[in-house]
């Protein structure tokens, strides 16, 4: 199956069901409710289900990152699953031909991951051991932009 912007998130949520709860709790903030049309009739009072505009791929990746980073703890985290997830991400990026996927992974996923590390006391060296070469390059490009040099520690 070819992974695209439209099915990558479903792929991760199906493969790693433990991500689902946190993902859904976060992605709700990026869903814009679609206003309901004004009713013609006073009698149309039936409750309708709320409809939402789907979040962008960037927002979905931010939510995916939120759910994955919840598993990354200095103690008591689920390092084995995290390792598998990062392996999958590496494979997707290594095979990816869509430049937009790589772009969004860098700015919306890896940048968020790096931004949140120190708040959670998660060592950068431990993260870099989980990343494959393509993922690591995206993180280093991001580091270069910010001039924060966390990965050189």
């Amino acid at each position: 199956m070819e992974l695209t912007q439209h099915n990558i998130i479903d792929y991760f949520l199906a493969r790693y069901p433990s991500l689902r709860e946190k993902y859904l709790a976060y992605v709700i903030y990026f869903k814009t409710p679609i206003p309901r049309p004004v009713k013609d009739s006073f009698w149309e009072v039936e409750e309708e289900e709320e409809h939402y505009e789907e979040p962008t791929f960037c927002a979905q990746l931010m939510s995916l990152e939120y759910s994955i980073s919840a598993l990354m703890k200095t103690e008591g985290g689920d390092e084995e699953i995290v390792k598998k997830i990062f392996n999958d991400i590496e494979e997707i990026l290594a095979q990816c031909t869509d430049p937009f996927i790589e772009k969004d992974f860098e700015i919306c996923f890896f940048e968020n991951l790096l931004n949140g590390l120190s708040q959670r006391d998660y060592p950068i060296a431990r993260l870099s051991q989980l990343l494959g070469p393509v993922s690591l390059k995206l993180c280093k490009d991001n580091e270069k932009f910010w001039g924060s040099h966390m990965l050189e520690c």
């Binding site: 903030y29 979040p55 962008t56 960037c58 700015i107 910010w146 924060s148």
Partner: protein, 90 residues
Amino acid sequence: MEKPNVENPELASMLDKLYRPNARVGSGSTSDALRHERLTGEQVGGRNHMQKVSDSIKGLERWLEINKNIKATDISAAENVLKDLRNALQ
């Protein structure tokens, strides 16, 4: 603007994602990243922060809609970051 300190853990996590510690680009905020990109043309590997800023505005707006009963200082902090993001997008 500098990252504000907030008590609500979910808001704290949202704001953490918008700031790079020890950055040399502005205050390390995503808003400053976009301003820097617009000013200098420099981007992250040819990419910019426009989409992330736009999505983060949506995220914080919705968070404020849903979380009306939290501490006033947290609401004010979220509103200030939102203002900064909107300003960067203009």
